[in-house]
């Protein structure tokens, strides 16, 4: 296996020596024996690009660029229709380089590369030009400038594409173990699903017990099962599973590496554990927003949050007669614009519980909208109304007012529909707040190099197409770490994330992008600078017929290119990022 890789990389390096020319601003020499025939496909992305950038103008411009044999626009290049058009054009116009100007390579590159391959073109003859994230979305109010920029970016892409060369990929093995961060319902479900498939799982939980947020819940919706009864068997299965190692009161200290081989350090403050995994699942959940300063919280003892209410219900406290719930506290406001998604459900659940236990109790839900979508929640909404729960709509212009000195006594609310203020007796006020991101999610985001959205929740690779994985290979996501998710959602996301994580582990290898470094023996003086700077010990000096020369082990090389920038002789190059490819882009940027 090893030997096959070596001979292949040597062969590639050998091929390269013949073609190599000094990089620079000189006349573009043909990268391949074939003359480049570049196809440019400019995507409208519906209105996302086309609403700002004048796409047909960019297409017209692309047609004037050297070696562009064909150019067209697509409404959605990534759609079945767009992909077929690319594939057909490759064949019909004998294209040997393909450029798609659309979104980001971090999400869509594999899709277009696959289309190239399906049309018989080596996928390394594809070049991505980002005119959405890096153009139309950030210059939304400057269509002229955005159009000019899109043209420049296409010109740069075309310049690079002329020097693209076909490449061959390597395989890298995947260690069949996973790290699951977070021991709530999502994390435990993901861990069990992986362990049951035969993989070793390391489950790290910050708290002293497994269970996450659900530990603080009284009954679960919509079955009204005891949350404890729901959790206990799950925890037991995890704890007793021979392939799951659980680290309680522990935090992940560092994660380094790549899909297949992540080196993980976990600490509980006293002791450290170090292990290797092939994949990582982020299931760190979220926490309840504590509404300090809203409606007398926490000064008034009978003004509580939903989790505090759950705790009271669990302890079996005597229900008061008059309960007022105020929904959307700290949610759907300028500072926190999102909807908490299941806070309405939780309020409905507890309202029904209270009314069923004591029909004489008065339960008011002050709402701005009731999110009672789908079958179960809508049924509960109706049930609550039948039981006599009263829903009163308030607006942010005139928010309710909690009245009381040592404790809340009543709630004043301006009823939007009847247009007058009501005074409701209140023995207990529940401030229904949304979940908010974990305060240290920034730290984890930096450690794993995965993004968070503007609200601070983790951000998936693609909202619609890749909802439970990050753009970084081998790292997956489930549960409320992404957005507030109920149990049903958390469980299905956990199954999805663990299934995704299992794929490379089951396969045992991943294809490694051919972006590795290679050395030109004719230019190499054997100085060894590259050996010193390589962080992966992938380069060694070998003595051959022509003396001491550097040699890159392509299976070890991760493609950072540090050695290339360090090489004093221009002998070292990186596939896909050669000096000539990049400098041709720089040159294209200057020439307008």
């Amino acid at each position: 296996m090893e030997k096959a890789h070596i001979s292949r990389s040597q062969k590639l390096a050998g091929d390269r020596q013949i073609r190599r020319q000094t990089a620079g601003f000189g006349n573009p020499a043909r990268a391949n024996c074939d003359l480049p025939r570049i196809g440019v496909f400019v995507c409208h992305c519906g209105n996302n690009i086309g609403g700002v950038v004048r796409v047909p103008e960019v297409v017209e411009y692309a047609r004037t660029l050297p070696d562009v044999a064909y150019a067209e626009d697509n409404m959605y290049s990534c759609s079945e229709e767009g992909l077929s058009s690319i594939k057909e054009s490759i064949v019909r116009h004998k294209l040997n380089r393909v450029i798609v100007a659309s979104c980001t390579p971090r999400t869509h590159e594999p899709l277009f590369k696959r289309a190239c391959e399906e049309a018989g073109l080596n996928k390394y003859l594809f070049e991505f030009v980002n005119i959405r994230e890096h153009c139309s979305w950030i210059h939304m109010h400057a269509p002229d400038e955005a159009t000019e920029k899109a043209k420049a970016l296409v010109r740069m892409g075309v310049a690079k594409a002329r020097y693209l060369e076909p490449q061959e990929e390597f395989q890298s093995d995947v260690y069949p173990a996973a790290l699951v961060i977070g021991g709530g319902v999502a994390g435990m479900t993901a861990a069990l699903n992986l362990a049951n498939q035969g993989f070793v799982v390391h489950l790290v939980e910050r708290e002293a017990e497994l269970g996450g947020l659900l530990r603080g819940v009284n009954k679960v919706f919509p079955t009204y099962e005891d949350a404890g009864e729901f959790l206990a068997p799950l925890i037991q299965q995890v704890e007793n599973h021979p392939r799951i190692t659980t680290y309680l009161r522990s935090e992940v200290e560092s994660v380094e590496g790549f899909i297949g081989h992540f080196q993980v350090r976990v600490t509980n403050g006293h002791r450290e554990a170090e292990f290797e995994v092939g994949t990582v699942i982020v299931a760190t959940g979220a926490q309840e927003f504590k509404p300090y300063g809203y409606y007398g919280y926490p000064m008034l003892p009978n003004v509580v949050t939903p989790l505090e209410l759950e705790e009271m219900l669990k302890k079996g406290f005597e229900f008061p007669r008059n309960v007022v719930m105020i929904n959307c506290v700290g949610a759907r406001i300028a500072e926190r614009p999102y909807c908490g998604r299941f806070c309405c459900t939780a309020a409905l659940k507890n309202a029904v519980l209270i009314k069923e236990r004591d029909p004489r109790a008065k339960v008011y839900i002050l709402q701005r909208d009731v999110m009672a979508y789908g079958e179960h929640i809508e049924r509960h909404y109706r049930r609550a109304m039948e039981l006599g729960v009263r829903f009163i709509r308030y607006s942010l212009d005139r928010p309710p007012e909690v009245v009381g000195v040592r404790q809340a006594r009543e709630v004043k609310v301006f009823h939007q529909l009847i247009g007058k203020e009501l005074t409701l007796p209140a023995d207990l006020v529940v401030l229904v707040t949304p979940l908010v991101p974990q305060p240290d999610s920034e730290k984890l985001s930096r450690m794993l190099k995965v993004p968070r959205g503007s609200e601070g929740f983790f951000l998936e690779a693609h909202l619609k197409l890749r909802p439970i994985e990050f753009a970084t290979d081998g790292i997956y996501l489930c549960g409320s770490a992404r957005y507030p998710s109920n149990i049903i959602e958390s469980v299905s996301q956990a199954y999805a994330a663990s299934a995704k994580a299992a794929t490379p582990m089951r396969q045992g290898f991943v294809q490694v992008e051919a972006i590795t470094a290679f050395s030109d023996e004719h230019l190499c003086t054997g100085c060894g600078t590259c050996v010193l700077v390589c962080p992966f010990s992938a380069i060694e000096l070998r003595v051959g017929e022509n003396g001491q020369k550097s040699w890159v082990n392509a299976t070890q090389c991760k493609g950072c290119g540090s050695c290339v920038a360090a090489c004093p002789n221009g002998a070292m190059q990186q596939r896909g990022f050669t000096d000539r490819q990049v400098l041709s882009m720089v040159e294209a940027l200057v020439s307008s």
């Binding site: 390579p105 210059h139 109010h141 950072c560 290119g561 990186q574 940027l589």
Partner: protein
Amino acid sequence: MEKSADGFKPKILAFCCNWCSYAGADLAGVSRLQMPSDFRVIRVMCSARVSPEWVIKALAGGVDGVMVLGCHIGDCHYISGNHRAKKRFALLKEMLGYLGINPARLYVDWVSASEGARFQQIVTEFVETVKELGPHHGPEG
């Protein structure tokens, strides 16, 4: 030397690493953070791949400003690539003066995948800086 000439559209190049700053730039886009359009991003896998030679050739060839944006120190996807970049470009900044290029035309910084707003801020500020420096044509102070 003309300074902040009206209508001067600088040509600015941003080398972004695939794992952090490019992703940060993507996030800025996803978040619809608006910024000047005078910069073009070239994606590299790591800031350590950016050859000082590229920066010199770009500035000598007519680019008005170059940004090299990597992962934060300690967060490099390739363990220590950004350490290399940091050292290289500190040295290059000193050298640029000898080449007759104002070192302020090279800007090196770190942007994580979650820092869309930081990307926006860095780009906006650097575009302003370069506009103040004016077009780059030939040796200067």
